[in-house]
Amino acid sequence: MSDQPNPWTNLEMVDEVIAMLADGSSLNLGIGIPTLVAQRIPASKNVWIHSENGVLGVSGRPTRETVSPTLINAGKETISVKPGASYFDSATSFGMIRGGHIDVCILGGMQVDTEGSLANWMIPGKKVTGMGGAMDLVHGAKKIIVMLTHFAKSGEVKLLHRCTLPLTGKNVVHRIITDYGIFSPMGETFRVEKLAPGVTRDLLGPEAGMWT
């Protein structure tokens, strides 16, 4: 390890998230990087994975023999479930989230800001896909974690003083994991919780005063 910045890989980001999860906790995993959490988490943590289309207790992937067209996750991918799983309607499923019964919700994001607001559903002028469950998922879970790369391909930082894209939710995010580190929105600044190897504060973005 030298002075050279060595940002985390997706899997390293996932392992950082997994380290935050308590044994026996319940999780909702968003589409994208967060789904990797399901594959890396050790069985000893005994987490209960919720998918908002109406299942709690998602486990690995099905086999060619067990795959079922009626057993999918919110990403519409086939899944399997573990003993103790349950199925329910969508109102109950989102009630679990809105009512605060899911411990952690891990989402992807396009932008997140120091107020804890998240933008992850729409880029004006581009193809609209719809917010799906994202606007519901950001309210209610005890802890909202956003996983995203620190910089866009264009080079712009995704952690901002104020989001410029349309919001998914206002003041909702508790923790942010990027390839550069772990951050907490504090209102006017991000508190730096941890940095990836070799990453220094001056690499985090143009606004120096934003990192405390």
Partner: protein, 231 residues
Amino acid sequence: MKTKVFENAAAALFDLRDGISVMSGGFGLCGIPENSIQEIRRQGIRNIHAISNNIGNSGRGLAWLLKQKQICSATCSYVGGNPDLEQQMLAGEIDVTLVPQGTFSERIRAAGMGIRGFYTPAGYGTLVAEGKEAREFDLPCILELPLVADFAIIKAEKGDPFGNLWFKETARNFSPLMAMAGKITVVEVEQLVELGEIEPENVHLPGVFVQRIYQGVDYENVIEIPVLAED
């Protein structure tokens, strides 16, 4: 004796007309009412107001109706993976209202359960909140109203002649809620069973919410994104 059991989709959907609102169950292609959608395609009614989480996916389901330009407006939460809808949206041929998925399901439940409005934090401070009443509880919330439909078309794994239903795995999703909210709820089932065959405790939707039921045929039950352990 009056019966709710119909011979097939054509018999059960005898009174469709242009301009009706139709709720259709299913998440992506999981649990969609294939027979009823095909019958609506066959009848060719137009100016349908569709209410469904995805309005079809991958060219199937309600996308069968999109291709024939039968749908004039759509209320849904997610249009990704539905090129037919995206194309008509961009062309301005269809009026799409996006609703956060949890609000979508709760509004449908509210319609079925006679709740005239409710406050939810979802969407507060976003485009979704525009024009809606906001109010501060422990969190700032917005007022959302019930979502009703002239017809609800639903698929279940099992159903009996009274309309008691049982859904398999995650095929339940919005279907029982829509069955509650539809003025006329038409159900197709994989298996039409005898009264009493679904254990009374395990009825997922009591038959009082169902107006018509029929035994479906030729189900495709397409898997949209198969991901297997060995992949």
